[in-house]
Structure formats: C-alpha cells, structure tokens
C-alpha cells in the first residue's frame, strides 16, 4: 500500500478543496478510482475528530473497513454499514432491527424508520463519513441523515458499483439533502498503461480521471495458464523478483483458497492471506504490508496493490452488461504498477476475446 503524504494531498488543488471544506458542513464528493476518496475520507474524519469525538467512518465491505481501520490506527471508529446499523438500532430502540426472513442482511428500513420516528430518536453523532457510498442502500442514507448525524461527508463512484441495485448519486443527494457532488478528476494511483486498460471497461457518467503518473513502459498482460500450479508459479516468481504488494482477485473462493495454500507453501515467510466473507478474518490481514492478498471481486473494492493478478478471467469477460463492465473497471484499477489477466486452461471464448482491448493496450501471449 502506498498513500500520499499530507503535503502531497495538499498540493493537489481539488483534494485541498475537499480538505478545506468547513468541518461542520456536509460534503458530497465523487471521484474515479485512484482519485484519493478513501484517503480523503480518512483525513476528513481525522480532522473532524480533532475537534469532536464520536466521528464514524462507514464502508460497505469488510476489507475496506479494515483498510480504513489500519489507516486511522484505531483512533476513529470504522464500521461496515451492516454492523453499524445492527448495533445502532439495538442501542437506541432496545431490540434488533427487523430483517427479511430470507435474508438477514436485508433490513426492513420502513419499519425501522417508523420505529425511530415514534421513539423521537435524534442524531447522536457530530459527523458521519461514508466511503464507497454507491454500494450502500439508499434507505441507509435516509436513516443516517435523520437519526445518526446531521453532518455527513459522502464519497461515491457509481461507475464502480458492483450490484445491479446500486444507489445512484441522485438517490444519495435526495436522501441526505446534500448539494451536488464535487468531482475529483485526477488519478494518482495507476500507471497510464493500467489506466488505459481499465478505461476500456469504463461506462457511466463520471469523467475518466487524468492520470498523474508517468508511463511505465509495462503494458498489462494477458496470460494463459495451463493449470493452477502454473498460475502459482507465475505469481510466486513475480513476487520473488519484484516483491511489494500483490493482489489476487478471484471469482470462486475455493480457487482462492487453493492459491493461498499453494503460495504459502512456495513462499515461506511471506505474508499470504485470503479474505472470505465466511471466515470474516479481515482483522488478521494487513494489506498495508508487503505480501500477497487473495480477495474476490466484492472485497477488492477500495484496495490497491502494486501488482494485481485477475485470475479466472473467463468468469469476468465478456462483459455483457454495465454491471460486469463496472466490475472489470474496478478490478483493473486496483493495480498501481502491473496488471495481469490470467485465463486457462481452456481458451477464452470468441466473445471474451472480443471484449478485450487491442495489443496496443493489452499484451497478448
């Protein structure tokens, strides 16, 4: 993980505008991958916390919550939306929130808000900071603005939304009463080569970020892999030669587990972690340290690595709808320096090949 320093942040005017926004004022910010949303969310939370305790940072996925927690070093509370609402509602109403009988993660928001209203519940926090807000349900924003905090800072990018029923920027604005969002326009993370591949999958209305980094001369590469062993060989060789942080993005957890086990065996003494939702082991993983982290696409959101291997590429392309394009866009932009798309042992379908950019953007085997 590599984060800009405070001075680097402050040298970027648009980020400075975000940082200098009065702390008692709500703020809505949209920005493409690499524009610094999470870093700004953390900085803003820290600045608010200097004057007022009980600031809360809310994320959608647990790995991003873990990253935020590592960045703020425990000084500020960071929670996933699901967990925060669960306990917040219990603390204030005295009972667990009602959920759909078929899905314990699906809160019955109208019932909850009616109960909060009857209980004349008032906001009890000075400031709520939300990262990747597009992934949270619109009702959460209504809940948060009515009953959690009068002042909110929301960062979002609907062009990275992974669910069909993502929250639009208009829904966030309507639910919270926030002004139209300020736009971040600079990509500080990706090399131009990585960004060009990611932009191939970009759809949506948020302008693509202008890349700040110089060209690396390293095109993203398409790799055919005969089997999982050869995938492990490629990754372990890469780590032994370059080190740094490596992210492996998989579709199926059993594939991820096999990669994790094999790489642990091949790279003794090297941190090799896998996060799965079932294990809920994110607090044991330090993505800020060098090593290898295996995540699925849902948990990759918000993370960044020097090198990313997107394995099981045939599960992600061809992108037949905007949601799948957004997923590829998000996954590609996790890579700072080097990006590999791995497929095999079978060939990619004709449609999958057609969904990939030309050799001027993606090096072929």
């Amino acid at each position: 993980m590599r984060l800009p320093t405070w001075e680097e942040l402050a040298s970027v005017e648009e980020q400075l505008n975000v940082l200098e926004c009065p702390l008692d004022q709500s703020l809505f910010v949209v920005g493409p991958p690499g524009s610094g949303k999470t870093v700004l969310a953390v900085r803003r939370a820290q600045m608010v916390a200097e004057a007022q305790p009980d600031v809360l940072v809310v994320t959608y996925n647990r790995m991003l919550r873990r990253l935020v927690a590592l960045m703020i070093d425990g000084s500020i509370e960071a929670q996933t939306m699901q967990r925060f609402v669960w306990y917040d509602y219990y603390d204030r109403i005295g009972e667990w929130p009602p959920c759909d009988t078929r899905d314990s993660f699906a809160y019955i928001w109208p019932t909850m808000m009616a109960r909060m209203k009857r209980g004349q519940i008032r906001p009890n926090r000075p400031h709520l900071v939300v990262d990747e807000g597009q992934d949270l349900p619109p009702e959460f924003f209504e809940y948060a603005s009515r009953y959690v905090a009068r002042t909110m800072t929301v960062f979002a990018d609907e062009d990275q939304a992974l669910k069909r029923e993502c929250t639009t920027l208009e829904q966030i604005k309507q639910a919270t009463g926030l002004d139209d969002p300020a736009m971040l326009s600079q990509n500080h993370r990706n090399t131009p080569e990585v960004s060009r591949l990611a932009e191939h999958f970009h759809s949506g209305r948020l302008p693509a970020a202008a890349v700040h980094r110089p060209t690396s001369g390293e095109l993203p590469r398409l790799i055919w892999s005969e089997n999982i062993k050869s995938t492990m060989t490629t990754i372990s060789n890469w780590y032994q030669n370059t080190g740094g942080s490596i992210g492996i993005i998989i579709d199926r957890n059993n594939m991820g587990q096999a990669l994790r086990d094999g790489l642990t065996h091949r790279l003794p003494g090297v941190r090799v972690d896998i996060y799965t939702h079932n294990q809920q082991n994110e607090d044991t993983i330090n993505v800020l340290k060098d090593g290898i982290t295996v995540v699925n696409k849902g948990s990759a959101k918000g993370l960044e690595f020097a090198t990313v291997f997107i394995v099981e590429l045939d599960q992600f392309v061809p992108c037949t709808n905007d949601m799948e394009r957004r997923a590829m866009y998000m996954m590609c932009t996790r890579a700072r320096d080097n990006l590999f798309l791995v497929y095999g042992p079978g060939d990619l379908t004709t449609m999958a090949v057609a969904a990939l950019p030309g050799t001027d953007v993606l090096e072929r085997p």
Partner: protein, 318 residues
Amino acid sequence: MRCPAAQLVYLGVVEWFTGRGLVVDQKVVFLKNAITDEVKMPVTLPQWLQDLRRDEITERVGNDPRSVGRKVLGVDKDAVMDEVIGWGQADFDEPWGTLSSDDRVLLYAYFLQLRHLEELAEAFRMLFAGTHPNDPIIVDLGCGPFTGGLAIASALGADTRFDYVGVDRSCAMRRFGEQLASAAARLDAMPHNVRHWSPSLASVSWNEAPGWRDVIVIVSYLFASPTLDVAALIAELEGLLSRLGGGRVTVLYTNSARQGVNLSFPVFCDTLQNAGFQLYADDTGNIEIKRRTGARTHRLRYALFHRDRQSILRLGAQ
C-alpha cells in the same frame, strides 16, 4: 482580427489582466483594447492545405468540362452564390437544376470555404500562440466540408492529434468533409485523427467514457440561418458536452460582420453565460487575406467564450 484574451484564457492566465486594470470584481469586463496590434500580415495557409484545396476543389471545378468561360460546373458564376449555395444556407442535399448535391457542395467549397478557413486558422493561431492543446475534441457546428478540422490543423500543425466531431445537417457536406479528411491523410496531414460525423448534436456517436479532454466548439457562420433555435442548440450542445466529460470548453464564434446575420448572438451569448461560460472577446475585426488580385481586408464578427473544467457534477432531479 483581434483575439486578445484567447491565448491567455487557454493558458489559464486570466490573472494577466489584473495587472492591467482589466479585471473588475474578478470578471473580465472589457477586453477590447487589451492588445492593440491588429493583424497586418495576410493569412497564409500551409502548403499541404493549399495542395489539398488545389487537388480536391479548385482543379476539380476548373477541369470539369462544364466549367467554361463564366460558367462553373455549367452554372453562371453570378447565380452560384445566391441560388446554388445560398451563401452557405442552401439545402445541399437537394439537386439544383443539373447540379447534384455533391456538385453544390463542391461549389460551396470552391467559393466560400477558403475565407472561412482563413478566419478560423487565424483565430486558432492567436488562441494557441505559445501553447498546444493536448489531444482536444473539436466540435464543429455546421461543419461544412471539414472546415474547422482543416483550420485547426493549419494552425497547430498537420501532425496535431484531435478528435473531430463534425455536425452538419447535409449528408453531402459530411461526405465531402470525410473526402477532404481522407485526402489530407494521404498528404500526411492529420493521419491519426478520429472523425465523428453527425447530422445533429443529439445523434453524435461518441462511445468513449466521459473524460477531461479540452473541447473546442466552433460556431462559424451558423447563425446566418434564420430558422436556428439558439436555446435548443445550446441545450443539445450541453447534452453532448456532458457525454464528452468535464474538461475545459472554449467556444469560438465567427460570422459575417453584417448586422442582420448576428441577430441571434445576444441570445447565444446570454444562454452560454447562464451555462457557466465567461465571455472573453466580443468584437468585430479584420483579417488580411491574399488573393490573385492582391491583398485585401476581410471584416468579421467574432466572440470567444470559455468555461473551466467542471468541479461539480450537476445532478438532475430524482
């Protein structure tokens, strides 16, 4: 022609004016005398562009067997401007007498395009003096046969890279524009540029994700049309601009200096300013042009608007 603020706007050095008392309340309110050196040198088009016009336009007209004596393509010269090309406002997709729509467009290029090219080339020369836009998008409204694209390459160099969005209701104009662009590429001018031709702003095919590229909008002689709905035009332009992204937008307006053809300009100006554009130049001026009969002065009306990159994403009502 004086285009005082243009290059300064482009360089983002609006502060330059503050030292000269030209900025009041942070707004440039009066630029007329900012630079007093009128252009005295005749506009000279680069050799490749002269060759292109010779090969694709003047020799084609001159070598046509119908061009004899006072007749061009079989039509008396006196009838061409008023009747065949209607000073640029004709319906070029319709045949006229024995002339095909392609003939009419060729005559338009023969009689009118050169002057428009010279005006725009001079404006762009001033606008980009000392700087060079990085891969801009050129949106040419009422583009005719690729006039704005040729002009910007004339000013910036034949190897300059840009996307060109040519909007013209006439299919024959767009077709001839593409023919000129392809011929230019054969002369090694603009070999890599991407062109997008469309009959209207709403139907422009643009498949790239929105970005932050600079956009230069050319509105040249468009307002000579008496039927143009300016407010609707700008609404459609805004629709396209939002698809292109949030980059800086510069609008260059040129027209005849005759009063009657600029009646829509105040509405154009107000609507653009309401959309966040700032007016940096609004004047009438001269350029010197060279013809076989000698140098002459050509008078034109021009204006320049600029809007900085968008820092706020405007959301519609839910």
